[in-house]
């Protein structure tokens, strides 16, 4: 079981969380302008990287708030957590 650090509550067991999938997939601002390819990309296509993954988590059985995390999918180690709405942290030069 993973130990996940909620930015609001601190370290808590994985059981308290739900996983919200890939982060930074913005809801279309002008749906009427979207064609079928755009919708496919928005609804279904996923990066699914082997390595750092920017993803959404929700501390459902705690503060119930969403936050974003960067996690390495080859080790499951959390590298950073950050608030929703914030850009993906640039880890270059941070020794990562």
């Amino acid at each position: 079981m993973l130990l996940i650090t909620c930015p609001h509550c601190g370290p808590r067991p994985e059981l308290e969380f739900t996983h919200g999938g890939e982060a930074h997939i913005a809801r279309p601002e002008n749906p009427a302008a979207m064609n079928a390819e755009d919708w496919t990309e928005y609804l279904y296509m996923r990066a699914n990287p082997k390595g750092l993954h920017a993803e959404r988590w929700r501390h459902l059985h705690g503060c119930a708030r969403f936050f974003n995390a960067l996690r390495d999918t080859t080790t499951d180690q959390f590298v950073a957590t950050y608030a929703t709405g914030q850009p993906r942290p640039d880890l270059k030069g941070a020794g990562q």
Partner: protein
Amino acid sequence: MQKFSAFELFKQGLNGQAGWKPQWRSPEPKAAYDAVIIGGGGHGLGAAYYLAKQHGMRNIAVLEKGWLGGGNTGRNTTIIRSNYLFNESAGLYDHSVKLWEGLSQELNYNVMFSQRGVMMLAHTVHDVQVFKRHVHANRANGVDNDWLSPEEAKAFCPPLNISDNMRYPILGAALQRRGGTARHDAVAWGYARAADDLGVDIIENCEVTGIVRNAAGAVEAVQTTRGLIKTPKIGVSAAGHTSVVLGMAGVRLPLESYPLQALVSEPIKPVFPCVVMSNTIHAYISQSDKGELVIGAGTDIYTSYTQRGGLHISQHTLEAICELFPAFRRMRMLRNWGGIVDVTPDRSPIVAKTPVPGLYVNCGWGTGGFKATPGAAHTLAWTIAKDEPHPINAPFTIERFRDGHLIDEAAAAAVAH
């Protein structure tokens, strides 16, 4: 190829069984092939076999980054069934069951296909309604599936607890008698041996690290840890790593990779005659011919490539097993492990051409593609050889997500395996 037969066994016995040769060669990769398959699991090896056998393509290779069957083929709980809801799925999965029925003869290799019956338990009114709908839909498609009362279910599987003082009592079951299990390793080895015999080069410890395309965008070569290999056709059958491999050609897919776990108990005498699945309380179980109880757990909630999963996931499954089969409460588990499964949004696979000319993909089998090994291999080979799908895999495209033609087994059944 040294044929296996009772006579051959006897003959070799006269010589202390010392005359057996390796089952397949271990060749150096050539500079170029007519087609290359990425992934030496059952699907990839089978595709190579059918390409050579049915389409006359013999100058081909299977590239495997580890060892044959070391991926999900060697990690799964080997449940085989075809009682899926939709017509497209019934077509593909039942095509596979029919191929399973003749596979040991076809390959001259005992894949230990055992049609011992797969029973799915219903615990809620919703389960009962959904399963009965499945039974009717399956029958309309010529796929066998029977509805059983709790007493009939217990008669078919005596260890089953059908008392009504359980948290989720058993209200009935759907039974596919043609379903069952097969020996996972034997499927990979049987296809490898037969493909090798037809001239296919099977190359282990050879990881594909890049896909080279020409000016027109078509496939030209693969970069590997054992050098550059030219080829005009690539079939990808890399299960959990499909997004990574297709990313090398710039193709994005509707896939997410999750860890899925299984575990086996210490071996015991035969006590368990069939396969039992319960999706509602999430457990599935059978007994291997070695005597181990083979138990499948669920996926983790997050994507990962670690090939292990959280312990609480298997614990959850074991709790369900102990409730369904109280006799197993004192069993010890011997090993547990994980595999990485590639899941699509509608829980149906993709066996299709890609937007890149010469690049074909077989993926999205998620938690349930072992059962489809022969059918996926056969239709992938057809698609590669003819550059167009077989009618059976034609609906399983990438474009179905754009066009809204989902084959939504996820919503239909929420049945995992």
